[in-house]
Structures are given as structure tokens and as C-alpha cells.
Subunit: 349 residues, 2 copies
Amino acid sequence: MSTDLPHTSGAPTLEDVARVAGVSRATVSRVINGIRNVAPDIQEAVHRAIETTGYVPNRAARSLVTRRTGAVALVVSGAGDAKGGEPFESRVFADPFFGRVASGVVGYLRPRGIHPVLMLADSAQTRDDVVSFLRQGSADGALVVSTHGEDPLPKLLVDAGLPAVLWARPARPIPISYVDLAHRAGAALAADHLVARGCRRVATISGPFDVPAAQDRLSGFQEAMAGHGHPYVPAVEGDFMPASGEAGMHRLIKEHPDIDGVFVANDLMAQGALLALRDLGRRVPEDVAVIGFDDSAAVACRPPLTTVRQPMEDMAAEMARLLLAQVADPDFQVTSVIVQPTLVVRESA
Amino acid sequence: MSTDLPHTSGAPTLEDVARVAGVSRATVSRVINGIRNVAPDIQEAVHRAIETTGYVPNRAARSLVTRRTGAVALVVSGAGDAKGGEPFESRVFADPFFGRVASGVVGYLRPRGIHPVLMLADSAQTRDDVVSFLRQGSADGALVVSTHGEDPLPKLLVDAGLPAVLWARPARPIPISYVDLAHRAGAALAADHLVARGCRRVATISGPFDVPAAQDRLSGFQEAMAGHGHPYVPAVEGDFMPASGEAGMHRLIKEHPDIDGVFVANDLMAQGALLALRDLGRRVPEDVAVIGFDDSAAVACRPPLTTVRQPMEDMAAEMARLLLAQVADPDFQVTSVIVQPTLVVRESA
DNA sequence: ACGACACCGGAGAGCGCTCTCCACCTCGTG
DNA sequence: CACGAGGTGGAGAGCGCTCTCCGGTGTCGT
């Protein structure tokens, strides 16, 4: 117990370790950072000293000189001022979409010792907060998931010259890296499958028109169906939430009672659509085949949902990878990665 | 355009602002932190200088001297080494439970300018990472959500003298603040309701026995039923996931075909149970009344689930409040907050 | 055997900020 | 008019770390 550390006050510092190991601060720093060769015996002495002092490097001090934080902002950006009484955070975190993105990001970042800082940007004020946060050097860059296409945050980030990677292509082109899915190709997969299984009267429930991904899924589906000789596809607009899928399905069946196949722009809405179909007494897939999108809620459905799988975790990991590359090399090219979806056939179609 | 800032290299510093404003660093710092009186005209000059330089304080430098980071760790702690191929992060973030906790935490922290850093602790290594992270001064404290009772992380935190607040009472008592629900009272609410609506053969699907909350819900339910003259309540164990609720319900009905009421220890399992009941041709609530717990997936069920509501967002906010109090005042007492649940009656019971 | 050269450890200058003194300057008051 | 109180701004010492120099030592080539 009789250590000779003065133990001035709080945590031990590099200085303390150096004293105990009988070397200089610089040497301890070298050992810790594994930079340059240090004689093995000295290394060992340092390690022992670290052990006995219980030293942990102070992140702020290190950050101050390295200009790196080992943190990235994971920001969900959207319109909080929108309709609906629920606060933005409730809606965001309740969405399995966010969970899967977070999972992918964490999966990639964690082994690399980088930590994601959760941020929400749903107003001009909070968007500025995000920019400030990065400019303060609180994080090395930002991973941005926008809930709608016209989000102003990406541009703010670009203008401030801050490293950032987006989920999905921005509505208007700006020089920023992003990772996106080939939505049209995914929708075509669904169209092909529906046609192949013999559906003759096909309709679709789309996402909100102001979301580019929703537009792409819709037009991609319509085009593919046109290619199969179905120039007209009835469509109703939903908002990606289960209730709108349910309502949309009811409307579709009412207006087109002979429908035998539906492409729903995401699984959440498909879940609602399935409920509606059951209430309406239509069997799935015998009477109506249903294909979802995302593969997010598919197994929780009855019957299990055939869906276009979006490999969100992989995409999120790719975002993280791009961001880190960008942080490491400021001259890193703006890069877009487009991921191909696959069709997962279960029972609903 | 012709400013007289030398603009040496990167971002403007306090020094730059001071020069532009014609005052000293200290004064600028005072203005920014609103400490002590500074003459109005000088204040204004400083603000203008901040404006023109586009100055943003450097967080690392500030942290270094204040010993505060403005960040807290939001850590999900559990057993990653457990069964199941899926990585820990997938399971965690897919759970609506986590989403609601995150939402509550963010809702409280955001207006206060504190940022949550997402961390996962699912092994000895990663638990140490969390401790190190805090000891490095990367965050001011930790909000810990454990997925099982015997989690060693809380004790590590206590031993290291780090500010932390837990979700739920730890399995073995340690001096640490936590926020928990009155699970037994919640279960009793369910029992009362089932009995009141005339159920005579009541069973329950519990959570895993190694989770204290699951034990409490089970024993609380059994006791309350005993109080109503039902000393024996058939019970099967689930794992809080939908599939186990479905399987559990099948088993229950098989072993006790005359069941007319079921208390399911969480909504996710209740969702599965509802599915099973439908497959078995039992009407809900006419043939079998079902009560869930949490109020997390209740409205997505068919029929909408009567459930014991756990105000997770409020509880999470309370955790954050406790943590901040603890960070601000190291002598802050260890405090436990127990929140009362309420019964939300919908259609399933 | 001597110079060249790699190698390795130490000294010290900051990184950008806060905060404690301290000097100054006004007032108010006796 | 002198003196002290109180309010205001500046100087400067760090916070704990990294990293560039530099000087000392060991090793090899010629």
C-alpha cells in the first residue's frame, strides 16, 4: 500500500506514470500510443507503472492536441414541427428503421473504438446545434439520417466543410457522400414476382411523395409493371406507418375489389394492410398477394411477409466506413454507394 | 472581406475574438460564460467579434479545465455471449423498449445541452471499455439499462466511484441510484381486472426467471390472484419475445383448455399470444381475456391490447435527472425512484 | 579505429480554455 | 479632499496530453 505517488488530487496523469516508471512523459506517451520503438524493458516498466497507478489517458487533453475525438454524431434529422402531437424523439426511436441503422453503425464503430453520439435535428435551432457540436470538435463527423428529402441539414454541413455521410440521396444534389438503396430495382423485383405468380390486378400503397425513396419505389414499380404489360397501377399514398397501410388497403379494395396483388412500400404499412385484408375476409396470398419492402417487420406478420430486403445494417456500416475514411483523409472523394436489394420470399406472395 | 484577423490556420480561438474585440481572452470567456459583470458596451463588442470571426468554443479545451464534458453514456448492458446468433446490437436496438428509453433520455437531456453517447456492454472487455470511457472523462456519468439482473457493470461503476443511474433495481443490492416500476403493483392491477371481468381460470406467461422484473410481475400476479381466492395460477416461462408468447400460449391452452384469462408479462409476448389464440380459434376477449404489460406494442395488436402501462419515457427522463443531479453534486444521496404503473383498458380484456 | 547513422529517450513548446489573482478606476462617504 | 469599497478588465498559470526537436548511445561499415 505504500506507493510513492504523491497522488496530488484526482486521477493519475502521464506525469505520475512517468515518475513511477522513472522515465519522461514523452516516453510514456509513446508506449501508450505505440508510436516509434521503445526498448522492451522500458515498455514493460511503463506498463507496470500504468498498472500500479491505474492510469487512464484523459480524452479532453488528447483531443485538444490531436484534434480528434473518437466520436461521431449520429443524427436523425427531420421535421419536428410536423403534424402529430408526439415529440420527434418518440417517433424516431419507435421506428425499427432507426434501430437497425443504429445497430449497423454501432456494429462497425464499436470494434474501432469510436462512439456514436445521438442527436436529433428537428428545427433550425437544433440543426445549428449539430453544426456547432461538430465545429466545437465534439465529434469528428456526422452520420445523418433524414426523414424527408428536403432536409436542410446536409447542406449546412457541406457549407461548413464538416465530414458527413448521408443515409439516402438528398433531394437536390449537393456534394456529399451517401449510401442508398437501388429502390427502383427493388420495386422491380416485387413487380416481377407478383407477375410471375400470376397476379393480374395489381395495386400499390406508396410512401409519402415528399420522400425520394418513396417516389423511386413507386415509379420503379409502375415502370416495371408497365414493362409487364400493365400500364396502369392503382396507387394510394401512405405515410410509412401501419395505420396508413391499413387505411390504404381498405381504400384500394373498395375502389378496386378485384385486386389480387399489392406492393406496399414498406413493411410497417404492409403489416397494416395484412390486418385490413384479414378484416375484409381476403386470404393472403390466395386471394391477394402482398409484398412489402425493407424486411423490417416481416416475420412479425401473419402470414410472414414476402418483402424486398433492404440490408440496413450493412448500409449503415458502410456509412460509418465512409465517414471514417473522410475523417482520416480530408481529401477523400465524395462517394456514393448504392446497395442492391434482394427479394425475400415468405408466405404472403 | 478585409478583416484584420491573421487567420493563422484552423478555427478562430478565444484569442482571435479577443484581438478583434480589443479585449483580453479572459473577458471574452466571461462574456461567453455569463460570469461576473462585464460592461454592456464591451459585451456587445465581444458579441460582434464572435459574430464576425464565427467563433465556436473548443469543447476539448473547455473540458480539460472544467472537468465536464456535457455528455453522458447511455449504456445497454447484457449478455452478448448468450444464445442466438444475432449480435447484441441487433437485438438491443430492435427492441421497442430501448427506443422508448432512448426517447425519454433524449427528451430530458436535449434541452439541457447534454448529449448521450451510445454504448453497448456485452462482455468483460466492453464493460471495462465503459468504465474507461468514463474514467477518461469522455462522459460525466452513465445511464445503464441492463438486460438481466446479474449484470456486473453497475458494481464496476460503483467501485470506480463513477456517477451512474440504473434502470431497474439490481439483483443484489449495491449503493447505486435507480429508477424502477412497481412491478408487483402492476401485476396486481392485471389480476384485479381479470377477476373483475369474471375470469375464473386464469394463467400467466412470465418473463425469464433471471430477470428481477419478470419475477416480480409473476409473484405479484400470483399473490394478487391468491388474494382473490385463486391460490394456483398456471404459469409458463417466456423470454419477452413474441415467439415465446405464441409458444407459451399454445402450451397453456393445451395443458389447460378451459383458460379464460391470461396475464402476459410484456406486450411483445402478448402479441404472440394473441396470434396463437387466433390460430386456436379462441376469441379475444370473449373466450380468453388477455392483459399485457408495458404498453409498448399494445395498439399494434388485434384486438388492441389491454395492458399495464409502464411510463418508460418518464422513467428514463427521471434517470437522466438523477444522473445530472449526481454529477452536479458528488455528495448527492443514492436515490431510488419507484414509479407506479396504470392499467390501460383497451379491447383484449 | 573512426565516422556515419539509425535508434531511443528527454526537454519543452504548445493545443484552447478557465479562473484566480491583481491592478485599476470609479464612486460613495466621512 | 482623502480613503476604502466594490466593480471591471488583464496577466498568467495551469488543465493533461502530443509531438517536434535534440542530444546521447550503440552498431555497423570501411
